[in-house]
């Protein structure tokens, strides 16, 4: 056997290989814990129990959530069309009681006021939606103040039909002839260049 020594000592290739093998074996020379099997089986049992509990819970959840979901769907199916109808007929958002209140609380663009102090003008607003739909000012000539009455406003008439004249077709124009004129090429005169660069420069 080759000598295995410390720093500076001679050592054979085989001895070094053997030392490497021994070092590797030593690094891995540990045994798994004896209770590994027990711990693994406990974990597996826990997984199975959780899985069973989970599936039972899921079944219970479905028994509750299923009918609730069906009922909610039916309620929505019944209420949604009704809600659409009431939206069309709904009075102004401020209610139909006091017109003055309605004016005061209405959005700024829907308020029409007159600067003259008297007589007081009442603005009647009727709207199917919160926005200003129709505004009618009371007659400026002096209608009595009536805080409780709400006057119905006729629906606005549609715009009158606009007559559009039929377009007249443009009269055909005669275009001038666009035939190309014949090209005129002047005769070119070619003279001989000086022979040397110096002669060219002097010239």
């Amino acid at each position: 056997m080759s000598k295995v020594g410390g720093r500076g000592s001679g050592i054979g290739d085989r001895a070094l290989d053997a030392a490497i093998d021994a070092a590797v074996r030593e690094m891995l020379d540990m045994e798994p814990a004896a209770d590994l099997r027990g711990r693994v089986m406990d974990r597996i049992d826990g997984l199975s129990a959780n899985s069973a509990a989970g599936s039972a819970f899921e079944r219970k959840l479905w028994w509750i959530a299923g009918p609730v979901a069906v009922a909610a769907t039916i309620v929505l199916a019944v209420l949604v069309p009704w809600r659409g109808a009431t939206t069309i007929e709904r009075p102004p958002s401020t209610g139909g009681g006091d017109t003055r209140l309605a004016v005061e609380s209405a959005p700024r663009p829907s308020i029409v006021t007159h600067e003259r102090p008297a007589p007081i003008h009442v603005v009647t607003i009727r709207s199917s939606t919160p926005g200003p739909q129709s505004i009618r000012a009371a007659d400026a000539a002096g209608e009595d103040v009536n805080f409780t009455s709400v006057e119905a406003v006729q629906a606005l008439a549609g715009p009158e039909a606009i007559a559009v004249q039929r377009l007249t077709e443009p009269s055909p124009r005669s275009l001038p002839s666009i035939e190309p004129a014949p090209l005129e090429i002047r005769a070119l005169q070619i003279s001989a260049l000086p022979e040397t660069p110096r002669e060219r420069r002097e010239e």
């Binding site: 080759s2 000598k3 295995v4 020594g5 410390g6 720093r7 500076g8 000592s9 001679g10 050592i11 054979g12 290739d13 070094l16 290989d17 030392a19 490497i20 093998d21 021994a22 070092a23 590797v24 074996r25 030593e26 690094m27 891995l28 540990m30 045994e31 798994p32 814990a33 004896a34 590994l36 099997r37 711990r39 693994v40 089986m41 974990r43 597996i44 049992d45 997984l47 199975s48």
Partner: protein, 205 residues
Amino acid sequence: MTGTETSDAASAVDLALVRRVQAGDAEAFGELVERNRRAVFRAALAAVGSATDADDVAQEAFVTAFQKLHGFRGESSFKTWLLAITWRKAIDRRKSVTRWMQRMVAPAHTSETGEEWNPVDRLAAGGQSQEDDLMTADLQRRLKPLIASLPKKLRDALLLAGSGDHTYDEIGKLLQVPTGTVKWRVSEARKVLKLKMTSMGYTDV
């Protein structure tokens, strides 16, 4: 897995146990754990370098294997399939463990019984002379940090091959490289170690 059991026979026994587990016999999985725990632990240890981490990895690998066992078709041996799971778990663990180097090169280890032991004492118990034992121990003490500092690809191949629990084919499947590449990596690892030892003064005779 017993030492006298051939690889094919062991695979057949494993497969029979797998079929029992797939049929609903969870206790059969305990037998699979018992038969493969050493190989799984050693593979994990080669990757993470710590017995505690290797134990955790082995446990996780077995639990994962149980959860995925319904998908095992027997195209490869159960052991190869299990070791592949183990190796993936171990590599994940290694990425998160920063103390690998310190643990791998620690001069003293704790045995299964909890006693601290020193490699020098262990080697001295053999039949060699005390001087040779001490020199060998010195060499191994110097080799361990060198092995630990090898590139991961070389170190993994060297440790897995050196454990004696895996064939080159199994290591190749584990590392997802051809068997020839495993052999080359082991040879290269030895070459690098020898070069380093030579540079430290351990010269050829």
